[in-house]
């Protein structure tokens, strides 16, 4: 695994306009960064990333099965009791999942270590499934990268195929896509997934999360008053559970993507449960609930993560009981878990995170994020990768 500088495509910004990639820069800073790429060997990809990704996913499903049947754990996950049946039913019904992204610390050798599972609202799907693919194609076509340069990336193809399966499993329904207003990134991600669903032959609509309505019977509706019967939401389950319409969840006939049981996987509380169920698994880091810290005697340094944190918010690194680094954010009132510190590898000044994608239960590609801080956040740069 190397970080290799490369000349940017001279027309990359025109290409971004042409293919509708609007959030390559945010807050006036570059988010998409093609001034370098990461190079992997096939063995690194297949043995160190692909196989563990699918294995961890299966382990996570085993955790869901355990948590679903354990009231005490559901409380530890801070899942409101009013939603337990909704979540349980979605699991018992086998409500199908679309995708997830597992984040790893990996430096090219040894075991990739699981940081977290973005199982509910993963983003950067467009950059991964299409945009970095196009970057490689353009560079190969221009003779800058060799013809046999490859990429671990079948995300788009697998998403379209998965949508075809989902249509068979969800017949006679149109699919509403939704995300919050005021985020170009979320809107772009949802548009991409909507395009994938359309390519699979699904009838789609869009409604902003804030615009979702309800009728007298408790059905959800879009801005044209269409009843919503199948919905993709890029909005965390744990928020929806607590909001005004939350009490209607499970009372109306809607199929959800991701399904409600994913709220267990996207919760950081999954990390201590995984460690308990699969102790010393090579891809896991020791992890503990707050009241189990006496078991963490081997760890001189711990990372404190809020149960619901996203995009690296409110994470702190604790050494010998004092905080040495932290990131700001709005989470934490729901409680924390502690994970043994395993710093991201550094390539020059950059701290690098590998995101490994799953479509249903199959590994589907990777995305690379870089940050100048050891805690990657939502403004971490996205870099392409190749296999050579």
């Amino acid at each position: 695994m190397f970080r290799v500088p490369i000349r940017e495509r001279s027309d990359w910004e025109d290409r971004a306009v042409e293919f509708g990639f609007k959030f390559h820069s945010m807050y006036g800073e570059r988010y998409w960064d093609e001034s370098a790429y990461y190079q992997f060997t096939l063995q690194q990809i297949e043995e160190d990333i692909e196989e563990p990704t699918e294995e961890i996913h299966q382990m996570c499903l085993a955790v869901v099965e355990t948590v679903i049947n354990n009231d005490q754990l559901l409380r530890r996950f801070r899942i409101p009791e009013a939603q337990w049946n909704f979540i349980r039913n979605s699991w018992l019904n086998g409500d199908p999942s679309l995708y997830s992204r597992i984040d790893f610390a990996y430096n090219g050798s040894g075991h990739a270590k699981l940081y977290e599972n973005n199982a509910d609202t993963p983003t950067s799907a467009y950059e991964t499934g299409f945009w970095q693919w196009l970057w490689l194609k353009d560079n190969v076509d221009a003779g800058i990268l060799p013809l046999h340069a490859d990429q671990f990336n079948s995300l788009q193809e697998k998403l379209v195929n998965r949508f075809k399966d989902l249509q068979v499993l969800t017949p006679e329904r149109a699919l509403h896509f939704s995300c919050c207003k005021d985020s170009e990134e979320d809107r772009g991600t949802v548009q991409y997934l909507e395009d994938c669903a359309s390519a699979a032959g699904i009838n789609t609509y869009f409604v902003y999360t804030e615009d979702i309505g309800r009728d007298i019977e408790g059905n959800f509706s879009d801005m044209d008053d269409r009843v919503i019967s199948w919905m993709f939401k890029l909005y965390p389950w744990e928020f929806m559970f607590e909001e005004e319409f939350g009490h209607l969840l499970g009372t109306n006939n809607i199929r959800w993507i991701e399904p409600p049981w994913k709220s267990i996987l996207s919760n950081k509380a999954i990390l201590p449960v995984l460690w308990k169920m699969f102790p010393h698994h090579p891809n896991l880091l020791p992890a503990y609930f707050e009241d189990e810290l006496h078991m963490a005697t081997d760890c001189t340094s711990l990372v404190k993560k809020p149960l619901f944190s996203r995009e690296g918010a409110n994470i702190s690194i604790i050494q010998n009981h004092s905080e040495v680094a932290s990131s700001p954010g709005p989470y934490g009132s729901e409680g924390y878990i502690y994970q043994a510190t395993h710093m991201l590898p550094q390539f020059g000044e950059n701290h690098t995170l590998v995101g490994s994608w799953l479509v249903n239960d199959e590994a589907a590609g990777i995305s690379i994020r870089e940050d100048s801080s050891p805690i990657t956040q939502d403004m971490s740069r996205y870099l392409p990768h190749i296999i050579l």
């Binding site: 990429q151 079948s154 207003k181 991600t189 309505g213 009843v227 989470y331 403004m379």
Partner: protein
């Protein structure tokens, strides 16, 4: 190979690339001509021909032209017409015996009632670039559109049997490609200004999204979004 071998870039393109954007000034020019020659009246007279023979009878076109127009409309019907997963769904909107399975897409589609001919009294020369769109007779029982003639996107143009129709210019222009199927009873959703079928009465909105806006005050999620 660990990556997808081929992605159709034409399907991914959101904006015409350098080459095809050359067409844009030409299209703009045509718009100007349209407005100046029609002033406020954007409607145009057109006839519905059920066959090449009827086309010959109602227009100044010769048989070969009418036959070509008919074939073009059939082609447009395949491209832009409503598509259904099964025959029942199609027939519930277009009547028994009025749907067939496309040999190309495999979907069930209504058979066209006829095709639209605009400028029917004009000379050959100005008809060179004419479009001949298919029209359908809508048969969904108790629908306010029942027995109306519609274009492929669900816009009604009037009841059947009229000598001629005054249609929006758009009725004579190419319709968007339809590549996905329509859920049962939804075709009329495409008609202008109509509420979708099965629309409900929304009593309140805004029951989701409040956590996002409260956490946004931290500066999070505003641009970065709520994904992870």
């Amino acid at each position: 190979m660990k990556r997808t071998q081929h992605i159709d870039l034409d399907l991914m393109r959101k904006v015409a690339n350098g080459k095809s954007s050359l067409l844009r000034p030409l299209a703009l020019g045509l718009t100007v001509v349209t407005f100046s020659s029609c002033s406020n009246n954007t409607k145009e007279e057109a006839i519905v021909a059920g066959s090449p023979a009827e086309c010959v009878a109602k227009t100044s076109m010769i048989y070969a032209e009418c036959e070509a127009a008919y074939k073009q409309a059939e082609k447009e019907a395949e491209r832009t017409g409503p598509k259904y997963q099964n025959k029942y769904e199609c027939e519930s909107e277009f009547g028994n015996g009025h749907c067939s399975q496309s040999q190309i897409s495999g979907y069930f589609m209504p058979m066209m009632t006829g095709f639209l001919v605009g400028n029917m009294l004009s000379s050959d020369h100005s008809r060179k670039n004419s479009m001949y769109n298919p029209v359908y007779r809508y048969k969904h029982p108790y629908s306010e559109k029942e027995d109306e003639i519609m274009t492929a996107d669900g816009t009604t143009i009037g009841s059947p049997g009229q000598r001629s129709y005054y249609v929006q210019k758009s009725a004579l222009q190419p319709k968007p490609t339809v590549s996905k199927t329509i859920p049962r009873g939804r075709f009329k959703a495409g008609s202008l200004n109509a509420k979708p079928a099965g629309a409900t009465q929304t009593v309140s909105r805004g029951g989701f999204g409040s956590t996002a806006s409260s956490k946004s005050s931290w500066g999070f999620g505003r641009f970065g979004g709520w994904g992870g």
